[in-house]
Amino acid sequence: MSTEPSRNVIRKYLPVYFVLLGIFFVEVILSFQHLSTGTLVVILLLLAVCSASLGLMYFMHLAEERRALFLSLIPVTIFVLLMMNMIWSDSVRLLHMRPGAQ
């Protein structure tokens, strides 16, 4: 068990906290711009990935763990999430091509 004093931990992570809030407010401002839905979704998704990466690396301390943990968890998760694209596009096609679809 560590015996380091804990008084500075909040101060240590305050920059990450403000960056996360900043990204959120950029997202809010962008959502009020007249962008097409597809463009808005892509930009917001990229910003969300940035926020999540910061949270993952600093709040969840993945940056301080051994690289083996990162390499075992993150690439596999990204691969699985990307592979979902194979089925979702087909499900949307079915949604719109089913009998009686509008």
Partner: protein
């Protein structure tokens, strides 16, 4: 011989049992923490499935309902600030527990719990506002996707608040260790991370214009 080719003495076996024969974990973290990471990854894939399906349906459907006005955006901004702040207090709880400062860890844990409860209350207020405008789980694709995704997230927040209460009580009575606080912290940060995807995709792309 261990997996690393080292000989284990009888004395080591006596002290560590069969643990002395086992290889060191390649991740150098306790099994409890690794289990929490594996749970988080599986839960991330669950949320990913919901959000991907929502994204496809959202982009491919014409005349999508856009029910959120500036009042809802202010509400969701407050909710986001509350949740991110709760992650900061959770960091304080984990750090204080590791440093052996039990009183401080408990204070931070209960602050996190209070912020989580506030988030859930604000979330329910948002829901009841939508119910008042006849937007429910059965009112088309928007209602179905919105209440499913936010409901699943709210369920995680409420579970987290209960977990924080239980861990706080048991940690203060000495039945749980700082390791348990850390694992709960990982879960809480994950709930925060998921919200960072839910807000832009489910709220901010559906603002009334």
């Amino acid at each position: 011989m261990t997996g690393r080719g080292e000989t284990v003495s009888e004395n080591e076996m006596a002290v560590h049992g069969h643990g002395a024969l086992m290889e060191e974990s390649p991740y150098a973290i306790p099994s409890r923490k690794l289990t929490m990471w594996l749970f988080i990854i599986s839960d991330a894939v669950t949320f990913g499935a919901f959000l991907f399906s929502y994204g496809y349906i959202r982009v491919s459907t014409a005349n999508w309902v856009r029910p959120f006005e500036s009042g809802s955006v202010i509400n969701v901004s407050v909710m986001t600030m509350v949740l991110i702040t709760s992650s900061l207090t959770m960091l304080g709880a984990v750090d204080a527990s590791k440093a052996g400062d039990k009183a401080k860890a408990i204070r931070f844990l209960y602050s996190t719990m209070a912020l989580g409860a506030l988030f859930a209350a604000l979330h329910l207020r948002e829901w009841f506002d939508l119910f008042g405008r006849n937007i429910t789980l059965s009112s088309g694709l928007f209602g179905q996707t919105f209440f499913t995704i936010t409901g699943l997230h709210l369920l995680h927040v409420i579970s987290g608040v209960i977990a924080l209460l239980v861990v706080g009580l048991k940690y203060s009575s000495g039945r749980l260790t700082p390791g348990h606080v850390e694992s709960t912290g990982l879960y809480w940060h994950f709930v925060d991370l998921v919200w960072m995807f839910v807000v832009p995709l489910v709220y901010l792309t559906n603002i009334e214009r």
